[in-house]
Amino acid sequence: MTTPPTGTPHSTGTPHPTGTPHPTDTPPAPAADRGSWLRNHSELGVCVLLLALGVLVLTDALTMDVDIAQRGPVGPRTVPVVVGAGLLLIAALLAVDVLRGGRGQAEAGEDVDLSEPADWRTVLLLTGVFLGSAVLIEPLGFPAAGALLFWGAAFALGSRRHDRDPLVAAVLSLVTYAVFNNLLGVPLPGGPLMGVL
């Protein structure tokens, strides 16, 4: 969102800044280049997802049983149909834009370095840590699961201070638990640990 508005939808034809090779303008060579073509046009995946979402919304709206509940001239179906159709239309327009060489600009930020290729391993690890903590929050209670989430996430992000990391995680988690549970009146599960203390 840091670029000034340029108006037309086709004006984002800058080469992709995320380290993928530059778009090849050469005529499509068979087989060998197919992989890199797909990589350059991975944004088409967004079109596919939008298309699928549109189909989903439309199917849901059209299979809806509205006779019982219709009140007023516009029923519960109208807006979903418009949104679903809009999704299909935008999926098509985006596909056209991508095939013409338009690229969405990956978002920049203070700690974001777009000159390096994306590190999807870290993202996967973080996702795993998050899901793991979500599962553990009920059996272990919030303080323990929260500390594990923080420590695990810091580990995934490259922190290796095995003396400091768990301590920071435990203090943060306990303080947060106390603030929410006791000060703000938002109940969080204490778990067996809090039962002992």
């Binding site: 939808p9 984002t12 967004v46 939008l50 919304v57 807006v79 979903p80 590190d119 938002v186």
Partner: protein, 499 residues
């Protein structure tokens, strides 16, 4: 006069010890968040939405407003000392502020920015006091068709004014609208996109969407591209200004708000455009044009003042019309919804304590900010050294706390992660996040107003355009939509003439 007495009542609310405490917590958190790289004010307010479950609305909004203003203050510190502005509004501060810091004038740059924010915020808030009740009064008779028109304006503005690609903005908006559809239809109780799941029948909570898109999405995106070895901040002493600097900056401080405020009030992308306009204006008016690019102090003072004033302008349209013009305003609107309060012209009538207490607290917050930021700047600068793994692990941690606090259900955490992954994909492929958030927040309301308007008019489409207010708003929308076309025509005419 009426506004003044109301404002005095507002100070009565804002100056109670508890509310001063919330204002102080807000500005401290806000400044810290603004200084911390990677957390913007919108993410901060989103992460703090869960406190609305345990806090009264006045305290919560006083704190949110403090965060908004404080983050503006703190954001310029990062730009000046680190030269890696994360928010668009802070880009301009880095252009002159960072060269100043590198040539040993960091203290003066920080002072010019801090006093600029104070001046801009003060002038902006005075304008807010003067204008908001009038706007609210003008708009007080508006009905369903007018509300629908305003919401359509928000949708169109957020997709076609912001960002570089309309298709991508619209794609984002539609994703948001789709999420907003999930749950029971508000008027008929019909299940939509729930797939028979009881959990989804309540809809996806706005807090989870905001936290997922702003916090989890951002943390995952940064994780994928984490800068190895973050930049070294330039060490700095206590901010101060000499007499010659003061002589150069006072006019810039006073000019900034008049550029910033109007741009904040209209849906034109918040502080991004006015800070840049102020920069250009100051450059043109400067007597020291040779210093520009090497650290001209006017280039820090003017834009920073404009940025704070634009925040005040944002509050005008948010409070009087319920029209969010920036990401922060959108999340604050979500907070209003959590309390079941509908911002709009009637807010001034129904919740005078809340509105005027909030406005008065802005003045209190501004004074607190100036008092905090001038002496504490070197301390704030230390925050820039926080290890990045802790920072982003902390964001994930607080996001999880917030989502779990919504209803104490593990499924909410899974939904949060899914929305976070959507946010990650959106950042990767340049889909702006804001339209999606606006879609979720305003979508259900827009549908309700549309159906109400059509119910009144018995299905006739003319029921949507039967008030002068609605017609005016639609005219603005047409201009917004036609703008790129007009610009292209103008450019073509110009090249034709020059050939």
């Amino acid at each position: 006069m009426d506004a003044l007495t109301s404002l005095l009542d507002g100070f009565g609310t804002a100056l109670t010890p508890v509310n001063i405490l919330w204002a102080a917590v807000g500005v401290l958190l806000g400044t810290a968040i603004g200084v911390l790289p990677g957390i913007g004010p919108a993410m901060a307010v989103a992460l703090l939405l869960p406190v609305t479950y345990g806090l009264d609305p006045i305290g919560a909004f006083i704190m949110f407003a403090g965060i908004y203003y404080g983050a503006m203050f703190g954001g310029s510190t990062t730009s000046i000392l680190l030269n890696t502005p994360g928010e668009s509004a802070a880009v301009v501060a880095a252009m002159e502020g960072n060269p100043m810091a590198r040539s040993g004038r960091g203290a003066q740059a920080l002072a010019a920015a801090a006093i600029g924010h104070f001046a801009g915020g003060m002038v902006g808030t005075v304008l807010l006091v003067a204008l908001a009740p009038t706007v609210a009064e003008l708009a007080v008779g508006i009905g369903a068709p007018d509300y629908f028109a305003i919401m359509v304006l928000a949708f169109i503005a957020v997709t076609s004014v912001l960002g570089s690609s309309r298709v991508r903005g619209l794609a984002s908006l539609l994703i948001g609208l789709t999420i907003g559809l999930v749950g029971l239809d508000q008027m008929t109780g019909q299940q939509r996109l729930t797939f028979g799941s009881l959990q989804l029948a309540d809809g996806v909570d706005v807090v989870i969407v905001a936290v997922g898109l702003f916090a989890i999405g951002e943390a995952l995106w940064v994780a994928a591209h984490l800068r190895r070895g973050p930049g070294e901040p330039i060490p700095v002493g206590r901010p101060w200004l000499g007499r010659s600097d003061l002589r150069r900056t006072w006019k810039s401080w006073l000019r900034g708000p008049f550029i910033g405020f109007p741009f904040g009030a209209i849906p034109a992308g918040g502080a991004e455009i006015p800070t840049f306009l102020s920069y250009v204006t100051e450059k043109r008016l400067s007597k020291h044009r040779d210093e520009w690019g090497k650290g001209a102090i006017e280039g820090v003072a003017g834009p920073e003042s404009a940025a704070s004033a634009s925040a005040a302008g944002t509050l005008v349209s948010m409070l009087t019309l319920g029209l969010p013009t920036t990401a922060v305003a959108a999340v604050m609107l979500a907070a209003f919804q959590q309390y079941g309060i509908q911002p709009g012209p009637l807010l001034f009538e129904h919740e005078p304590d809340l509105v005027w207490g909030l406005i008065a607290s802005l003045f209190v917050g501004m004074v607190l900010l100036l008092a905090l930021n001038l002496p504490l700047a070197p301390l704030w600068a230390k925050l820039l050294r926080i290890p990045r793994p802790y920072l982003y692990a902390g964001i994930m941690f607080f996001a999880a706390v917030g989502a779990y606090a919504v209803g104490g259900e593990v499924i909410d955490l899974v939904i949060l992660l899914v929305i976070g992954l959507i946010g990650l994909g959106m950042r990767r492929y340049g889909l702006p996040v804001l339209p999606a958030v606006i879609g979720v927040i305003l979508g259900p309301g827009a549908e309700q107003q549309l159906r109400r308007a059509l119910q009144i008019s018995d299905g006739s489409v003319t029921g949507l355009v039967n008030t002068p207010f609605a017609v005016t708003v639609y005219a603005v929308i047409v201009v917004l939509l036609a703008w790129p076309l007009l610009k292209r025509l103008a450019a073509r005419a110009r090249t034709a003439r020059s050939v």
